[in-house]
Symmetry: C2
Subunit: 456 residues, 2 copies
């Protein structure tokens, strides 16, 4: 080996060694800040207390916008502003009523929630027979003859044998999203969907439906998993039992709202952006603590941590609180539209929208070489529980940036408890673990730091 | 390449491929059983309802013994029996009282729990000044002059920057275990220890102390972390405030109790044993749900799963519910003693005693080549969230088997929430996630299956 080669080699080793060790120290600084002086948990307590149930268009959603702006201003970010966006405005109305009218046991109350975006039955309600199906194939086989004038009851559970609960959700949620219009095709009077929950529970999970164009709208509700089991049992005993449901939900005209954006200006490339984000809206039950208050406060916390440890990002880092993920995605679409209009170069966008649970890794939607670059950082991240970088995907709200070629990253926490709370009255602050939430914020800050400082 | 070599290669690939695929299928069967027809969650509900607060020597501990025997008999294990063991018998007495008597604000009630094994103050209580220290070094520097007649207040928090909470616990728990005798050396009247909790909480964490031989015993309590902060603040304002504490706990004579053992007889080597285990006793507050009801029902569930899926183990698989992990380890010691007396060859012993949380991996205390063998199975386990096989250790109750050369394995769930509940009133059934518990049971069954079928 020639002396110069040796020298070059030693220099390389030395530089690499030095860089590695600096990165390690910087990442430890990020975690120490999050875990000892972290603000994410206090922020989440405030957000869920002052603005629980932040459905788009509601007064609470407006309160959440104000809270986010105020929080980011208080932390002294370089700029904080509101990006206007018109959002759907659906209101639930009175507490829903559902009853199975049986010959043997009389009327049995069943726990339901209207699906977001559903039309209501009106005060008079709907009474009809129920036909239970597992999927659209079964529905099709029944056809108009078996369905017309009846209430279709979609009762396919989330598959418990799938280890990732999001896969189980993915395998069941078409019943909720597309079920109402599929049933309407055959003349159904209304739809009852088994809640998208991992377990047997006493409360229902709401969530959005999507009416297909050119098919009449019919009312739809989600039923608690326990009552879905009960209804199924009752139908076995009494096939022609009458079902009564009453919902007074309404679709109002679109309402004005906002995405809330805060930024730390880049020291080298102020017009290049990295987005860290969550969505500010939630369903109108519970407090939207895991979905997605957690993601919002984690996004703010990333910027706060950078300021607190004195990290000057090369690129501009934006915390974006999107409005209207749950029933329209208007905020995500508007943000991407404005980014394109203003020719803002986005280096990366990251979202946390899988709950404030203990870290597992990140999902990625990016070219292979960028994915490999991120995977090369695994030795820096594995000690913090971040071991899974295999999944595809970013997040719903950042998805609209994909056509602009922006690489997308999704924070991936453990999924086991998410569908215990998702879209229910149980999604409350007390279900969030302080350390788990903080570790998530630190994980997002660590990956943002690596992307910003080393490039993709 | 010669034809025979090619043939051998193809055969090897084919056999390896086949084995791999069979193992994969068997492990999936285990998980499917645990997640669709699992009994661990229902068992835990029963155990924590019928026998909460199962401190050694208590009626509830006896009820837990009966419950475990009955549960394993109901599942039709090949044999179920009780192994007698004498255990310490400590009782808490009346609800503890602690007050800071301040000049400014008068008496302030503080939340404490007597430490397990502590002597009581008696009904008259103890009043004295308080001296706060962070560690034994600080205590030593104060010496008899600074400590005599006073109450020593150990107030070093668990280090929040340590990612594994068990490391943080390990770095703080000597204050509880050895603190009382260390303080007694310098003539302290009593000891108050900051609770071993990850966060600021309103409830105290109890736990065992160990009085050193030949040093006088003094009463000791654990204080809620929030009140430890408060007391520290009060002491800053008023250094000589009086502290009053009253505990009526007592050490009674040793009491008879049992380890509970169930087994599935090995089809090839019936006199070779694999132990899967948890400990049946808990502290006398809360329900002992995570610590360690979870481990017990997971151990039973391993055997139940094998029976349900028709897996005939080569070796005898024993589910062992140890008695008295919390304040004596008598059950673990007795089991190892009997194993040695009866010359029972133990191939492996596994314990679950880190809570019923989402899986991360296994710790191991075993020769390097055995560890490597287990690590070679990672491709079969990683899809189930089992990625961490780096930690050293087995479990407290199986530790006494180590001198007999038994390789030890500890189920390693995520640690972030464990010290929110550990040894407190909050360690209740509702804090356990059904899926997380089931995944833990399946993880233990999968590793037991691999050890049994492939050897170590």
């Amino acid at each position: 080996m020639k002396a110069t080669t040796l020298f070059t080699l030693l220099l390389t080793v030395s530089i690499t060694g030095y860089t590695q060790s600096t990165d390690e120290k910087d990442i430890k600084k990020i975690y120490d800040e999050a875990l000892t002086r972290g603000e994410s948990y206090a922020m989440l307590r405030e957000l869920t207390t002052k603005a629980p149930a932040r459905l788009s268009g509601s007064p609470n959603a407006a309160a959440a916008v104000e809270w986010s702006r105020h929080a980011m201003e208080q932390f002294g970010f370089d700029s904080v502003w509101l990006q206007p966006v018109m959002v759907p405005h659906w209101v639930r109305g009175n507490k829903e009523v559902a009853k199975a009218i049986t010959k043997k046991q009389g009327a049995i109350d069943l726990t339901v929630l209207a699906l977001g975006g559903s039309i209501g039955t009106g005060a008079q309600g709907i009474s009809a027979q129920v036909v239970e199906v597992k999927d659209f194939e079964e529905l099709k086989n029944l056809g108009e003859k078996g369905v017309k004038g009846k209430i279709v009851f979609f009762n396919r559970p989330m598959d418990p044998t799938l280890i990732q609960t999001f896969s189980a959700y993915g395998g069941a949620v078409n019943q909720r999203g597309a079920g109402p219009s599929e049933a309407a095709k055959y003349g159904a009077a209304a739809v009852v969907v088994r809640s998208m929950g991992s377990n047997l529970e006493d409360y229902a999970h709401t969530g959005g439906l999507r009416y297909a164009p050119n098919i009449g709208k019919i009312p739809a509700v989600a039923m608690s998993t326990r009552h879905a089991e009960l209804l199924s049992q009752l139908l076995k005993e009494e096939k022609d039992l009458q079902f009564f449901m009453q919902t007074t939900c309404e679709i109002l005209p679109d309402a004005p709202s906002f995405n809330v954006i805060g930024e730390l200006r880049g020291s080298e490339n102020p017009t290049q952006y990295i987005v860290v984000s969550g969505h500010l809206d939630s369903w109108d039950v519970g407090q939207g603590a895991h979905d997605d208050g957690s993601g919002c406060v984690q996004a703010i916390e990333v910027l706060r941590i950078f300021k607190a440890i004195g990290y000057k990002p090369k690129n501009t880092i934006r915390a974006v609180m999107y409005m209207n993920e749950e029933n329209g995605l208007r905020g995500g679409i508007e943000y991407a539209k404005q980014a394109e209009l203003r020719k803002e170069k986005h280096i990366a966008a990251m979202e946390s929208d899988r709950g404030g649970f203990t870290p597992r890794g990140f999902t990625m939607s990016a070219p292979e070489e960028m994915k490999n670059k991120v995977k090369s950082w695994k030795p820096l991240l594995e000690g913090y529980g971040l071991t899974d970088f295999n999944g595809e995907g970013g997040g719903a709200d950042i998805g609209p940036l994909a056509p602009q070629g922006v690489p997308l990253f999704g924070y991936l926490p453990d999924s086991q408890r998410y569908f215990d709370y998702h879209h229910t009255q149980e999604d409350t602050f007390d279900k969030v673990s302080k350390r788990e939430l903080e570790l998530g914020a630190a994980a997002m800050a660590a990956l943002t730091f690596l992307i910003d400082s080393k490039g993709l």
